[in-house]
Amino acid sequence: MASVGLPRPKAARTILWRSVMAVLLALIGFLVVTQIKTEWRIKRTLRIPSTQLGELAVALRRQEHTRAVLETKVVELRARLAEYQKAAAESRTAAAGMNRQLQDLRALVGLTPLQGPGVVVTLTDSTRPPKPGEDPNKTILHYSDIAGVVAELWAAGAEAIAVNGERVISSTGINCVGTTILCNTKRMAPPYVITAIGDSRSLAQYLRRPGGALEMLAAFDFPVRVTPYARVDVPPYRGTFRFEYAEISEKE
């Protein structure tokens, strides 16, 4: 329409103008569309106009800085966590080991009931009536007889011993009070049943050996019975432990 009313320029110049205009308009169209699309994308994704991108950049940089700081903190905390976990695992294994050790020690000092193969020795006062004029002491069992059998059992390799259900521990004394025998704090009367855990065969053999305590008792007509068992039970020590004078010494 412009070419109709306006003074006609030279044809070549018109064609040049049109083509240049076409190229430029194409460029503008392309740029405008791209720009609008970009703006839309920014508004859609960031929800702010592109003129505030600077503020966004500042916020981003601040966030990045914070993030870097937090990342180093995370690394630090992870290392500390690993340390704690290692320590916890170590203390757990240490506690488990200590617990196992404690159980072993409790069993060793006699605080746990024990079972296993062993022998049962039964001693009773002599059934023979004392001869006239004979010392009646010779027909009754003395604490030394019991203590002798217990000592022989230890010597034969017994691992746990009980006399009439009273556990013999390291501080157990076997003594007599008047006419009764005292083991730990318990008064006992015949029959005396001594239970020992260990290799039942060797225990029995050791007890029956010639010249042993049992042979002596048998010679004095005391009924002595030694019975091996595949399983005997030894009760735990029920008394107390007390150190009044003793202290733990640093000396080896």
């Binding site: 329409m1 412009a2 070419s3 009313g5 306006l6 003074p7 320029p9 110049r13 040049l16 103008w17 049109r18 083509s19 240049v20 205009m21 076409a22 190229v23 430029l24 308009l25 194409a26 460029l27 503008i28 169209g29 392309f30 740029l31 405008v32 569309v33 791209t34 720009q35 699309k37 970009t38 703006e39 920014i42 592109s50 991108l53 950049a57």
Partner: protein
């Protein structure tokens, strides 16, 4: 006269077809480039209407204006000052000037050819 229109349509179509991602930091520069291009187009239109169109002046005007606007925007970024607004204002004023001249020219030459 349809050739420029075809070019415009072609450019728009290309813009829709190829989604060119303008990096977020350069949105400002493309906006100025668009302004420079519109300014150049209107200047060329005015020159054509006044029958004094010159290709070298036209193209050099476009290139130098766009480059200088971009330079201003870049310096503004460096200084933390929105100097590119100056280019925007200058381009806008020129665009309005050109529109005004084109309007007068068209009225003078086309609507009132008798005078």
């Amino acid at each position: 006269m349809w050739l420029p229109v075809v070019g415009l349509i072609l450019g728009v179509a290309l813009g829709f077809l190829f989604s060119v991602e303008i990096p977020l930091g350069y949105v400002k520069y493309t906006a100025i480039a668009i302004l420079a291009a519109i300014d150049t187009i209107l200047g060329g239109l005015r020159a054509q209407v006044e029958d004094r169109f010159d290709l070298s002046i036209f193209l050099s005007g476009f290139v130098v204006n766009a480059a200088f606007a971009a330079l201003l925007a870049g310096i503004g970024d460096l200084l933390g000052l929105d100097i590119y607004l100056g280019a925007v204002i200058a381009f806008s004023i020129r665009i309005f000037d050109n529109v005004g001249f084109i309007r007068r020219d068209v009225i003078t030459h086309y609507l009132k050819p008798g005078r």
